[in-house]
Subunit: 342 residues, 2 copies
């Protein structure tokens, strides 16, 4: 028996996941897409069903010292709905499993579920199952979301074509800056529990961290405007990291423009206050849950005047690489940073 | 703001779950069944899809001091497949999310996934997604399974009719007894690490605890024999508890016979060794993952000679109650005990 011990850090989270995924076989033709996109895609007659799941742990993905349980319940659902949206699908059902210890009261659990139910109503989904169990330590939340879309209308990461226009919704970097503010106020509070947190002037960025909204509104609008993106994903790990995924899956390159990147004024100002480069926050901040997608130039006129869709660049050939043109008109190579959990 | 704090223990796990579920609304007609059966049922053209999920936590659902990671990976899948089987459906896909700390080596994670992949092969399912993340404490495994069956052939807990025959597969109580053995050997080992665990003569019962098999073989056979049970569920919480669920959902009573209850000899002998009543183990032992189902009397001849299906009683009217006729021909009222996690 081998006693070899390799630390996970030696491979990294992505290295470990790649190694595990390489051993997975697909056996059923109903499985149209397995691992490797925002959600799996299953054949269901004239429709496809999409399935996605997320596991959230206290102390890793959220901190109950500043995340209200109602918001946390909402967010746990929203992050999964965002993955359904990223497939151009419409969410229908979710399952929610919770593990909690007896440090939680019935009222606390009810607040968590009130957030879950508020999200179920907001996104028009049915809570169809789950598991409630005890935990010896922190709170664990596992959500699986199931969505549906007409067959052929589902959008993968792999469909971007040269000259397609790169679009992103909303603004970016706010959730990361919100987290910085919350962490700072927590430290202030830990040092002196009589200090009141100063959060009023940061309400937009903290809201983006604590209660993100999946962009189902955009998916409904794309349908009404008869636009099917060529590739799409949600911005959960950071814009640069997501662009790298699209480049890899679509075998293309990208050219984006710094002056086109959407950033909110409060995000910008707060980044400066924290001595952070706002553009780095936009490129590498995670958890914004906006949509990043590419469209054919033929569809540009349909979206051109949309107030919340920004055209940040275009798709190039793979061998042209991945670049950002800065405000001083220099092309700099993009780096994927994303989040590292281990 | 109310400062009321109600302890979860005041409501109990089932009370809490009932209270949370009472606030859930179903919005989509595609959701044929939400919470309340072994799996949810979704419309999918001429088929239905069934979805079930389980959340397993170290220290609550498993103990790594005696559960080998390979077996644990297999079991995490099998318990979900068992819920698919309980709907009379055929499993097609699973998602697997794992949270683990850096006390696990790459080799340990590979052993866990080898068990997951072995189960995926054994049950002929595709691993289509999941999440791998870090945990600050113990190992967490969340599996969601998706199955499929021709519309109208899915079996709920609610279909049992008066005079139907109650069937159970395999034998019961072994997993509970296996757990007793493993816990005892762990204590011996903790007291003196030089002691070798004495497990050889308990291999059947410990195997039933560590690596249960979902009874997909029975679902395939029922299909071949053209038998659709009137009601079905898997025995995860204990026979008595499951019978109570069927009685409640089908609005019926039951009469079962002690001398018909299947128990393996090693289970019986080991129960006696532990000063436990073997029949109590059969009635209230959890985690056997056998199938409990009811069939119309017209179908009895098709199953009559099956070596691994036992006919333990029949369905009565609800007002006739839930009884077991003992070997001494006394009718005693059944009590549901099941597992309490909080």
């Amino acid at each position: 028996m081998s006693e070899k011990r390799t630390e996970i850090g030696e491979l990294g989270e992505f290295g470990l996941i790649d190694q595990l995924n390489s051993k997975i076989k697909i056996r059923h033709q109903e499985t149209l897409k397995g691992i490797g996109d925002d959600a799996a895609v299953l054949d269901a007659g004239d429709k496809v069903k999409v399935i996605t799941t997320d596991l959230l742990l206290e102390g890793v993905h959220f901190d109950l010292s500043y995340a209200p349980l109602h918001h946390l319940g909402f967010k746990a659902v929203a992050v999964n709905i965002s993955d359904v949206a990223a497939m151009n699908a419409f969410p229908k059902q979710i399952t929610v499993s919770i593990a909690l210890s007896n440090r939680f009261s019935v009222e606390a659990v009810e607040a968590l579920y009130a957030g879950i139910n508020a999200a179920a109503e907001h996104y028009n989904v049915d809570v169809i199952g789950g598991d409630t169990t005890s935990s010896r330590s922190g709170l664990v939340i596992s959500v699986t979301a199931i969505g549906e879309v007409e067959k052929g209308k589902e959008v993968y990461r792999s469909g971007a074509k040269v000259n397609d226009i790169i679009c992103v919704t909303g603004d970016l970097g706010a959730a990361l800056i919100g987290l910085q503010v919350l962490e700072r106020e927590k430290e202030v509070f830990m040092a002196d529990p009589n200090m009141k947190p100063q959060l009023d002037k940061y309400s937009y960025v903290t809201g983006r961290q604590l209660k993100p909204d999946a962009r189902m509104d955009i998916i409904h609008e794309l349908k009404e405007l008869d636009v099917v993106p060529t590739a799409m994903m949600d911005v959960s790990d950071g814009l640069a990291s997501e662009l790298f995924h699209i480049c890899k899956e679509s075998n293309v390159g990208v050219m984006i423009y710094e002056d086109k990147l959407p950033i909110d004024k409060q995000t910008f100002d707060t980044a400066v206050e924290f001595n952070l480069d706002p553009i780095t926050c936009v490129l590498n901040g995670g958890e914004d849950y906006e949509l990043l997608f590419t469209i054919s130039q033929d569809d540009f006129h349909k979206l051109e005047k949309h107030p919340d869709i920004h055209f940040i660049g275009h798709v190039t050939k793979a061998d042209e690489g991945k670049f950002m043109v800065t405000k001083s008109e220099t092309a700099v190579q993009l780096k994927a940073q994303g989040w590292v959990h281990f």
